[in-house]
């Protein structure tokens, strides 16, 4: 993990380029906050909400921000900072056109200066200008070779975003993509670990029940399993329940002597 900024606490960062506008918040602190989040155990949703809040706070005049996530479950928005951003996003998925889908597909940053004059996404532009969205900036979320979505800010004024905002969005999108990929794989690893633990507990119960059956009547593991499976079918219960009941009953009998 690279350390994105080395500023002392409280000191304003010196921009390395002469910005058109000075950033409204300390970007170095914002990036630090996100880098720290990777190391802590936050949920994906918390991480996404932080990303959109930062995007809205670091681009002047922004009305709403959101993250579009594209994966095997489809396209959806998460952590939209307000209803307008959510609606504008929903229209993109509905019409299957719009700046964020283009940013995601082409891996290029997309800027719309005025939705009433921009001709690239006519249906979407017409729909969102009715919602009061006039300018848009959308940056792709790239992890290595893979494009996992886009992050966007909407503004109700035309011509709102310039080169400085593009620069800020690129920086944020780079961090957000790493963050998203990390939290997604962390959530996935946790899920798998929980499932494996459950699977092993069930497997233990079945192995103990197999032992009980071999000690009483079964001629081998295969027959013991067949007995458990037959009991499961007759009682309408999963094999794991039958195995647990069998072991519990055997223990109870021994306790009685």
């Amino acid at each position: 993990m690279t350390d994105p900024a080395q500023h002392a606490d409280g000191a304003a960062p010196q921009p390395f380029e002469d910005p058109v506008l000075s950033p409204p918040v300390d970007l170095g602190a914002a990036l630090n906050q996100m880098a720290g989040l990777v190391l802590s155990r936050e949920t994906v949703d918390t991480a996404l909400a932080l990303v959109t809040t930062l995007a809205a706070a670091t681009t002047a005049g922004t009305l709403g921000a959101a993250v579009t996530v594209v994966d095997e479950h489809g396209k959806r928005s998460r952590a939209a900072s307000n209803a307008a951003a959510e609606q504008a996003d929903a229209l993109q998925y509905e019409l299957d056109e719009g700046p964020c889908l283009t940013a995601w597909r082409t891996r290029q940053l997309v800027r719309i200066d005025d939705t009433t004059t921009d001709g690239r996404w006519p249906r979407w532009n017409a729909a969102v200008s009715a919602l009061g969205v006039r300018s848009v900036l959308s940056a792709p979320l790239l992890v290595g070779e893979e494009s996992i979505g886009a992050m966007k800010v909407y503004c109700e004024r035309p011509m709102n975003y310039g080169p400085h905002d593009e620069h800020v969005m690129r920086l944020l999108a780079g961090q957000a993509a790493i963050l998203l990929a990390n939290t997604q794989s962390l959530a996935e690893a946790r899920r798998l670990s929980r499932q494996l633990t459950e699977a092993l507990a069930s497997r233990d119960a079945i192995a103990r029940a197999t032992g009980v059956l071999i000690a009483t009547s079964a001629t081998g593991e295969q027959e013991a399993f067949a007995t458990l499976a037959a009991a499961a079918r007759r009682t309408g219960r999963p094999v794991h329940d039958v195995a647990s009941a069998l072991v519990a009953a055997a223990v109870a009998r021994n306790a009685r002597g």
Binding site: A199, V239, A249
Partner: protein
Amino acid sequence: MTSDEPRRRMDAARVRAELTVQDLWLRYVALGGTGDAFDLDGYLQGLVPLETFQQDILAQALNEALEDSYRAYRVPLSSLPPGDAVDEPLRRFVDDLLDRGPPASPEQSEPPAHHSE
């Protein structure tokens, strides 16, 4: 072609239960299966054989998954309180299993489980 039938039925069941090979493998391991996910994948695609015992475990895993997906759609009746009514047959069944006693073996083996209290 007929020997291929169980395999095709199993893969069809997997699709019907909306399970990925990974999910199916977890269920199979939970039931005591000893193959890895590649063994299952290869078997379901008809590329490698799987021993009969492992096939039985896989079949049980699939049946339970189908049962679970079916159960998710069941509608409860107001007159039947969800209780342990179903536990009674299971208890009797388990008692029957234990009452069968040890197989006709020459020596009496140790009781299957030790308890310490």
